[in-house]
Amino acid sequence: MELRIDKVRKEFDRFPALHETSLDIRSGELIALLGPSGSGKTTLLRLIAGLEQPTDGAIFFGDEDASHRSVQDRNVGFVFQHYALFRHMTVLDNIAFGLNVRPAAIRPPKREIERRVLELLDLVQLPGLEKRYPNQLSGGQRQRVALARALAIEPRVLLLDEPFGALDAQVRKGLRKWLREIHDQTGHTTVFVTHDQEEALELADRVVVMSQGRIEQVGTADDIYDRPTSPFVFSFIGESNALPIRIETGQAWLADRPLGIDVSGEADGPATLYFRPQDIEILTDPPGGGLAGPVAAQRRVAGTRHLELEIGGDRTRVEIEVPADYPIGETGRVAFKPKRWRLYRNDGASGN
């Protein structure tokens, strides 16, 4: 099922939780909504499900305008952030719920429902737990039951709100792979919300980065990581440094020092230079170019070392990655220049 979100806007008591937003989701795609807390991810997901009504705009399921369809009619599988399992029902009854409440004419017979539930329990790798109650399950198991319950109604789309948010890191990793497998097996169009970039980049076909009720960028993991279209995306994904600079006479300048990077074609004026700690080149013999400063702090990061340097007159701190055994000279100064970087104009335009 294709999804099209068409100029949708949502306000809560005048508070704009989601500014005008458009997004196309392809059939069978696994897509992640990624953004900091409060950026409107849950709101967008609930709008798709019909749990919220848009203030403006329309949501299409395929060619059909679903905006005025009730939640019940949309036939979406929703996995809630805290699972929302029915606490007084067994796992079996939880998963069977969506089938049991169908009108008699389209309700499968009892036997068939039970067979389907047991099949789903196998799919989510919880065989034999059908008699348990939710409070007798671990967090990861509840998560799986919630997914099985959503899958039982054969939904047109699957929506998951921070599916692994409440679980510890070890369990998360396992479930992540497992969700990808389930998605590939069942082929549902799936939208999941997360604030964990690693999860989004690793799991999703495409990632939708959101901030303050807006979509900042939509793209594959490579697009998002290598070609961030806004300073927000650059700094939200991975580690990054921001340095205010000036473009003049075809050169980039930090105060009166040329950076030695190629900015040909860039218009003159102030700009902000973004680069990642690992995308740098150490200069051993600074020929007057590049960035240099005293090491203010250092920390060991796995196989490498991160140095914090104080750059320029106002001692802007930047972080660079060097080999773990990198010798810091007597002067305590290190010079480098960014190898890969992006320039963002203060009016929002970007380039490199």
Binding site: A49, L51, S70, V71, Q72, N75, V76, G77, F78, F80, H82, A84, L85, F86, R87, H88, F97, G98, V101, R102, Y133, N135, Q136, R149, A150, A152, I153
Partner: protein, 291 residues
């Protein structure tokens, strides 16, 4: 032996004591005070009621209950409770649902309103209805012209009882439902359940113990209400006398053994309610920890 020392005892030996636990003497004094107070104001009077009722033997007590006016009072009390309790059950669930699961203007005001019967003297509750339906009011004579009698009749007693008992169910459910939130209901509708199915299959099972508890309290109060009913009923013997009113009348007539016989029946109802309530509480707390 050192091996027999409990962790608490070991802590004490090390000079450590639980900061919130009282010392043994303080605890004994506190428990003693509570128990003697209970004995004085609850147990002794209750025992006295039963002994007084049985002073002339069980036969005499039963005979007093079979007397026509007593029977009429018992029937009326049961009738009033049978009307007031279900109505307040429905009202309580509806109000609690609205308050716990929706956001709307005037919510705080509604909560205050629900508490009103707790803060208003029952006598005043009765007087309100006299004002509303009495001979000097607009409504009373109008209804009377259609042959509807509110005051000094069963409808008035039911109204007064509903007024006095309506907070019980709502008060019990509001915190419970607020605590549970709307997550399970949203899950139910996203799975295709309609409003009715969601209520019967999800909401109601989740609140059933709290609801039963509230209904029990509501019932106990409905049967025992004196003030409001006494104002509004006109106390027509054999017609508008409920059990509490009948007890008072018998007592004023120096018919002590009959008064205490009816009183014991009321007290017995209360005791049964208490036992049920205790059982429910047990069930309730077990449910919230595990199945």
């Amino acid at each position: 032996m050192a091996t027999d020392i409990t962790p608490a005892a070991a802590d004490r030996r090390r000079g450590w004591s639980d900061p919130v636990a009282e010392r043994p003497i303080a605890r004994a004094i506190l428990i003693g005070i509570a128990l003697s107070f209970l004995a004085l104001v609850l147990v002794i009077p209750l025992v006295a009621v039963f002994t007084e009722a049985l002073r002339n033997g069980l036969g005499a007590a039963l005979a007093a209950l079979r007397e026509p006016d007593a029977l009429a009072a018992i029937k009326l009390t049961l009738l009033v409770a049978a009307i007031a309790v279900p109505l307040n059950l429905v009202f309580g669930v509806a109000a609690a649902w609205a308050i716990a699961k929706f956001e709307f203007k005037g919510k705080a005001f509604l909560i205050t309103l629900i508490d009103l019967p707790f803060s208003v003297s029952p006598v005043i509750a009765g007087l309100i209805y006299i004002l509303l339906f009495g001979a000097g009011s607009v409504l009373g004579p109008y209804l009377q012209s259609y042959g509807v009698q509110i005051l000094f009749a069963v409808p008035g007693i039911v109204l007064a009882t509903i007024f006095v008992t309506f907070p019980f169910v709502a008060r019990e459910l509001i915190p419970l439902m607020q605590d549970q939130g709307t997550g399970e209901e949203e899950a139910a509708i996203s799975l295709g359940a309609n409003g009715w199915q969601t209520f019967w299959r999800v909401t109601l099972p989740n609140i059933k113990w709290g609801l039963l508890y509230g209904v029990l309290l509501c019932n106990a109060r409905a049967m025992g209400e004196f003030g409001a009913v006494s104002v509004i009923s006109g106390r027509l013997r054999g017609q508008t006398n409920t059990m509490p009113l009948h007890v008072e009348i018998l007592y004023n007539e120096y018919n002590f053994s009959a008064a205490f016989a009816v009183a014991s029946l009321l007290a017995l109802l209360a005791l049964v309610t208490l036992v049920l309530k205790a059982l429910l509480e047990l069930r309730y707390s077990r449910d919230s920890v595990g199945h």
